[in-house]
């Protein structure tokens, strides 16, 4: 935030962001166990993925449905190279590099061919390309593992059995899983700061100007196609990085975890809940969404049990854990109703004169 020159503005928002980041930074020690680690890693990955989408939608005003495709390219880049070349850091770098290159080229091609058309047509083009890519990934089973996906091994240091420190001070154990988590967390922090820097740069300002009034931006001398295409490429590269980190964490890549349209819906929900055109909204939105997705059912189960035990059977039925998706939907509707500009949009103060 200090590096980017774009502070969150607003005490409550700053406190919330600090809380989320600190909890994520200490998650392996605060909440031991595989489920909390999975939840924390997913928050990190989604914060990066949604921030990259916010760069596209919130700053450049481009509606794309191909973001999951770039996420998938990153995930498959890692999976294919680690599966084919064996578990080495070289394979990870090669896979990441190849994924970034492929994602950038795809985004460049889509941008150059489609960004001249109106927003809705561009969205349709990206939807078609993403669907075709998902089918292709399923069909090329010799390369991608088809519907089963690819399970692969990661370098020794990142495996669960690896121990960097065992029973250290305060009984702390740092395993390969902990290192994997910090690889994800630190990469996300660095990439997020880079994105903040980008949106606060003159390029970011031009993107905002184009989103608001493309003709006026042109009349000032800025080429819309050039800026929009570059934004598309940058967003694709960051999404590919998020996909690669997700694959490294899961040690598996398949259509469901990296190319599913459900991921695209999650991205859209998170960006709306968090707040568009803020980047910080991605962190808050991802944290709330992933936590609700993973713990709402458990919370409802506890409430259901407690109400049943107290004899309030009728009321307890509302909290039946089987209805958790209904409540998740209601929560989303309420959050959009009360925070139309997203949580960050609502909490963010106007800059001081």
């Amino acid at each position: 935030m200090i590096l980017s020159g774009n502070p969150p503005r607003g005490k409550l928002l700053t406190a919330l962001l600090v809380l989320v980041v600190v909890v994520l930074a200490l998650a392996p020690f605060l909440f031991p166990g595989s489920k909390p680690a999975n939840v924390a890693a997913k928050i990190c990955v989604f914060a990066l993925l949604v921030a990259s989408y916010d760069l596209l939608l919130g700053y450049a005003g481009i509606v794309s449905f191909a973001h999951t495709m770039f996420f998938g390219i990153g995930a498959y880049g890692i999976a294919i190279t680690l599966y084919a070349l064996g578990p080495s850091w070289g394979a990870i770098l090669l896979g990441l590099g190849a994924a970034i290159l492929v994602a950038a080229l795809f985004a460049l091609a889509i941008g150059l061919f489609s960004l001249r058309v109106q927003t809705i047509f561009f969205a349709m083009v990206t939807l078609a390309v993403a669907s075709a890519f998902a089918v292709l990934a399923s069909q090329l089973s010799w390369l991608t593992g088809g519907e089963d996906g690819r399970t692969f091994r990661v370098p020794e240091m990142l495996r669960p059995g690896f121990r960097l420190i065992e029973n250290g001070p305060f009984g702390i154990t740092i395993s390969g899983r902990t290192l994997s988590y910090y690889l994800v967390f630190c990469s996300v922090v660095v990439l997020f700061l880079v994105m903040l820097r980008i949106v606060e740069s003159p390029f970011g300002r031009v993107l905002q100007a184009i989103r608001e009034n493309p003709f006026r931006a042109e009349a000032l001398g800025y080429r819309i196609i050039y800026h929009r295409t570059l934004a598309n490429v940058l967003a694709a590269v960051f999404a590919a990085c998020a996909g690669a980190l997700n694959a490294l964490w899961l040690r598996y890549t398949g259509p469901d975890t990296s190319l599913s349209f459900n991921i695209m819906i999650d991205i859209l929900l998170i960006v709306v809940i968090g707040g568009m055109g803020t980047l910080y909204g991605a962190i808050i939105g991802a944290a709330l969404f992933v936590l609700a997705e993973n713990y709402l059912q458990t919370l409802m189960g506890a409430a259901f049990g407690a109400l049943n035990a107290s004899g309030a059977g009728f009321v307890a039925n509302f909290f039946n854990p089987d209805r958790w998706l209904l409540w998740l939907g209601i929560l989303f509707i309420l959050s959009v109703y009360f925070f139309p500009t997203g949580i960050v949009g609502k909490l963010r103060a106007e800059p001081k004169s």
Binding site: P202, R205, V206, Q208, A209, E212, N213, F215, R216, E218, A219, L220, G221, Y222, R223, G277, E350, P351, K352, S353
Partner: protein, 241 residues
């Protein structure tokens, strides 16, 4: 006109199936303020937008500073030295006043001395330097819109109805600003409905009607010829003084 910075020769413009400009011929001499007057719907805004390439000319030619620009893209026309202030005060409301001006300064950060010169006309911009442009009043937005066009020295300023909907006190400040800009040697093509403003700042005048130039001459001559005003613009000088 030999010292013309901008010339339009037989320019026609179509917007969809509508034929708006019917062979516009006009010249804007260097270092002068040229007024483009006419009733609503005469084609004044279309003329400015055609010069900027926002609505390309379907026929005819436009020359600016020795180069033909009627086939050029809008960003190229802008970077060749034409600044455009549209009538809709098209500022970027999500950006701050500072960011709006920085965006318009294509050569890098705005020059401090020039900024102070601009703040001399529009002190409100200094006051709200870090405020979002969307929170400014209508008059302040218009000031920002003009400030953005003059934040760097441009060869030609195209300004579309800068006084539209503004309070009289702000109009007076704007007239003073336009005069000062003109005194600095700028070339201006100004569309204006307010005849008093046109009279105060214009050196030359072109009057449009139904997509054609129907009168060209010195602004001072039109200002004293009430019958010509009535005939061309349908207005009485007395009612605008």
């Amino acid at each position: 006109m030999t010292d013309a910075l901008l010339t339009l020769s037989g320019v026609h413009t179509h917007i969809g199936r509508y034929h708006i400009l019917h062979g516009v011929d006009l010249a804007v001499p260097k270092g002068r303020t040229t007024m483009l007057l006419g009733r609503n719907g005469a084609g004044k805004t279309t003329t400015l937008r055609t010069i900027m390439g926002l609505w390309p000319a379907s026929q005819g030619s436009i020359h600016f500073d020795g180069a033909q620009i009627d086939k050029a893209a809008t960003p190229d026309i802008a970077t060749s030295g034409v600044a455009y202030v549209p009538e809709t005060m098209a500022i970027f409301s999500d950006l701050t006043v500072k960011e709006n001006l920085v965006l318009a300064a294509r050569a890098g950060a705005p020059d401090e001395k020039r900024l102070e010169w601009i703040f001399g006309f529009f002190p409100a911009l200094k006051k709200f330097w870090l405020s979002r442009a969307g929170t400014l009043s209508g008059g302040q937005k218009q000031m920002l819109s003009i400030a953005r066009a003059i934040v760097e020295e441009r060869k030609l300023l195209l300004i579309d109805e800068p006084t539209k909907g503004l309070a009289p006190a702000i109009v007076s400040a704007l007239i003073e600003c336009l005069r000062e800009i003109a005194r600095s040697g700028a070339t201006i093509l100004l569309v204006e409905q307010n005849f008093r403003v046109a009279q105060d700042v214009g050196d030359l005048v072109h009057v449009m009607d139904s997509g054609r130039i129907v009168h060209s001459g010195a602004m001072a001559d039109l200002a004293v010829d009430e019958s010509l005003q009535k005939r061309l613009l349908g207005l009485s000088l007395d009612s605008h003084q």
